[in-house]
């Protein structure tokens, strides 16, 4: 199996921060096949398009997947209204995920806001070799801090208003953290800054991107992103199939 459609029962649901939902589902083979950094495509009843949500945690022992998502519009609103015992209709696991490589290396995980959840499963694999630098608007918006700490990661917070941790940008907060490899997910301006820092320090860096999606599997060519080949020529790749995780050197920032 590469990917499958399956009804997945919700076994746990919480709202750690108003408007952000933390949902664990029984996902059978989808959980068995899932890798860190991949995503799932969730059906919203009555909507033409599914909603892509990253896999936050994978438990192969219990065949469960964890998602953490924020209400952004009608679709995520509907998904937040599902209760324990209800089923999500899930297409997954999709995309290529993070290439972890040697987990004894020192890894730096940089997350911004709702870009934090996709990093957790990969950070887990690095455990105490991971440093997580997590950026949020303010102390009230912080999510998943204990989860990163639970898995042994050195966890640093950065907030826009200084109400928790470092006062300022994650890219300033990460400056003195040693790293052999960087993994990042978050808003585009943050990712651009992380890529610039990676380039400057000469550290390999993988970033997880977002784009509006229809099929989620590479058939409709809807989720285009500008990429650069080794020879320097550019083309449109697709976030769902070629990503969502990319080597930062292949990404061309547009607009």
């Amino acid at each position: 199996m590469k990917y499958e459609v399956k009804l997945c029962e919700i076994i746990k649901k919480a709202e750690p921060v108003p408007g952000i939902f933390d949902v664990t589902v029984r996902a059978g083979e989808i959980a068995q096949a899932a890798r860190p950094g991949q995503f799932a495509h969730l059906l919203v009843p009555g909507k033409t398009l599914r909603r892509p949500i990253s896999i936050c945690e994978i438990d192969k022992g219990t065949s469960t997947l964890r998602f953490v998502f924020q209400i952004r519009g009608e679709g995520t609103q509907r998904l937040s209204e599902f209760a324990a015992g209800d089923c999500y209709d899930i297409l997954g696991p999709l995309g290529n995920g993070f290439d972890l490589g040697d987990t004894s290396r020192r890894a730096l995980f940089i997350g911004g806001g709702i870009g934090v959840p996709p990093l957790l499963e990969a950070a887990k694999a690095f455990g105490k070799n991971a440093t997580a630098v997590l950026g949020f608007r303010n102390a009230a918006a912080v999510i998943l801090q204990e989860d990163f700490e639970k898995y042994g990661c050195k966890t640093l917070l950065a907030t826009d208003d200084g109400s928790a941790g470092f006062h300022g940008l994650v890219t300033d907060c990460m400056k003195d953290e040693p790293a052999d490899v960087i993994f990042a997910c978050g808003p585009a301006p943050m990712l651009k800054a992380v890529c610039a820092a990676a380039a400057q320090r000469g550290i390999p860096c993988q970033i997880s991107l977002e784009e509006r999606m229809a099929c989620g599997v590479g058939a409709c060519l809807g989720c285009a992103c500008r990429l650069r080949r080794k020879d320097g020529t550019e083309y449109y790749g697709h976030v769902c199939k070629d990503g969502p995780v990319f080597n930062y050197q292949t990404v061309v920032w547009e607009g």
Binding site: E4, T48, V217, G218, L221, C223, A224, Y235
Partner: protein
Amino acid sequence: MADMKVKIAGVEFENPLIAASGTFGFGHEYAQFYPLSTLGGISCKGLTLKERAGNPPPRIAETPGGMLNAVGLQNPGVDYFIAEELPWLREQSTRIIANIAGNTPEEYCEMAEKLSDTQVDMIELNISCPNVKQGGVQFGTTCTGVEGITSAVRRHCTKPLMVKLSPNVSDIGEIAAAAESGGADAISMINTLTGMRIDIHTRRPIIHNNTGGLSGPALLPIAVRMVWQAANRVKIPIVGMGGISKWQDAVELLLAGASALQIGTVFFSNPYAPVEILKGLQEYLDRAGLHSVTELTGQIRPY
């Protein structure tokens, strides 16, 4: 059990459900879910003479009951298709339709010639893509344009030729008649209807191309109406599409006058849609005591 086979322009399809161009790539992704022989046929992603990069993102926007797309005919070009995609597709035991779009009549003719020398079962002339400046729709919105491009390609095409009509016209019956008199063996309809969405916070269109093509359930009543109007004007078979998401929609389009069907946007929410639609259609035919799906075509009882 009723016979599901249909024959369009001399080509026999095991069942009337064909994947719509641009929604199914070249089949690889959905072959993960079921054998592609589940489908009567596959209309492949629209091809151009040379590779096309496509439009900048965002290319997708959701709409009430549907979606907009402006992919802009991203494709690897007709030669790549013939060399790299067609051999595998040919092994999938389903009918293969090549969907082509050009900037000029000469490009359409050259592609039709190249494809006539291959194992494709049918050529679908896309004169209705709303998302590229040149690339079809300029030929597809006037009767002289439609008849001209159809008859030009006809002279270079030894395969059955199906012309895909745009709904962005005022009299679809006239357009269908123009395709028929130009020498089309069949008509497929409808392509997407041009639409637009605006982000009210940024005041920018959601799609980078500003406008995009509307597909999905919102299109169904327009497709039913247009297939019905076209069926009243032409004798050649019509392959109906536009917003089919369940077997009842399929029956409606057949009753309106379609001889076969294409499905597209429904794959995005339900990859298994063809399996479910075929099952429902089969049961409907059996309940009605019909022997063949062909008995439904055009059986609407209009007022």
